[in-house]
Symmetry: C2
Subunit: 213 residues, 2 copies
């Protein structure tokens, strides 16, 4: 997979230049979204483009999250205190990592969008709320670009669709990444929809990490 | 119908105290959301509470919008320039009015939420974008409160559900209104779902107003 489009707020740009932890977080995210290949033993990600909406998107997300969890030690399902404890409603952030270096703590929250456009607005607002409340120091959203999304699950959101709203994150360190397949070929296998055909694995949940403390 | 909950940002509070046009807009919205009665010839709004999700919500919205359009001269489907002309994507604002008094122009955009929670996030962000770009001077979102939403269309959003995110509108003049029925009674007729059984009327679209200029 490759990164084709990006939107990085001025605040995130500044952090990338001045904060080595934030730069490390960004590099881990980029490596993880670029790592999926298709078919499985290929060197690049080639998407079947035989017809609209013919591939699933969840397996791509899972490949990305697996690397984040298993190689880089990110955690899944991190609740924000503002939502869980104060407001007592709303779900957790998809993936999250606390980086500590020389007594400096930086917390990064990320969501890989596999829902529709309105669901992407909710993800963006959840991460914005986390930034505003000082519960995370950088937010990242991953989405397929429009050209790729055309061949993924119906109505999955794409980078260009949310792009008009990126400016609502100005003033906060926020990065939007639009990824694309390296090649399009109607002869490669289709990516299964949902989690069909995926190997079962146990995800690393934040609550289990906390529970072990 | 009655208003039971409200969230008014400091910026909107200030405007309500100092700007008679904004106060007028707010009063028109309040009158319009409080005007629906049920059953039709009753003096109050009584909702059938025989079971979860038994009533429709669209007819309530339509009664409110009808008053706004026909009595107060609001318009439907106002596109934001930033979305229509600049970004070339994204739908219009639900209802909109331009108030002019002593050469002072104030533009108010409003949405009555009948979709799910993620759709409410999108509406909020659309109105925020309009405020940020200076295309509207006040934004209003109407939603049923949770108690009432329980008896409306499945998954329709409610005031309490979006409430954790209201603070993202701080710094902008934004008003959230949570309405409720005056009474609950399992013996009143059900409100039809969708637009079934509603009288056809032609809505006042912004583009027709502009077209007539």
């Amino acid at each position: 997979m490759k990164i084709e489009k990006e939107f990085i707020t001025d605040e995130a740009k500044e952090l990338l230049l001045t904060d080595s932890i934030i730069l490390q977080a960004y590099n881990e995210v980029k490596t993880s979204i670029c790592s999926p290949v298709w078919p499985m033993k290929s060197k690049i990600f080639t998407i079947n483009n035989i017809e609209k909406n013919c591939n699933g998107v969840v397996p791509i997300k899972e490949l990305c999250y697996t690397l984040l969890e298993e190689t880089y030690n990110w955690y899944r399902e991190k609740p924000l205190d503002v939502l869980k404890l104060e407001k007592k409603k709303g779900g957790p952030i998809d993936v999250y990592k606390e980086f500590i270096k020389n007594n400096d703590l930086k917390r990064v929250g990320m969501e890989f969008e596999t829902g529709n456009i309105s669901s992407a607005h909710r993800s963006m607002n959840k991460l914005l709320l986390g930034l505003k409340r000082g519960e995370i120091d950088l937010a990242v959203i991953l989405m397929p670009i429009k050209q790729l999304a055309y061949y993924l699950t119906d109505r999955v959101t794409n980078f260009e669709e949310l792009e008009p709203y990126f400016e609502l994150t100005e003033g906060h360190p926020f990065i939007f990444i639009g990824f694309n397949a390296e090649a399009y070929d109607p002869n490669v296998p289709l990516i299964p929809k949902g989690s069909d055909g995926m190997s079962k694995r146990s995800i690393k949940k934040w609550k289990d990490k906390i529970g072990n403390k």
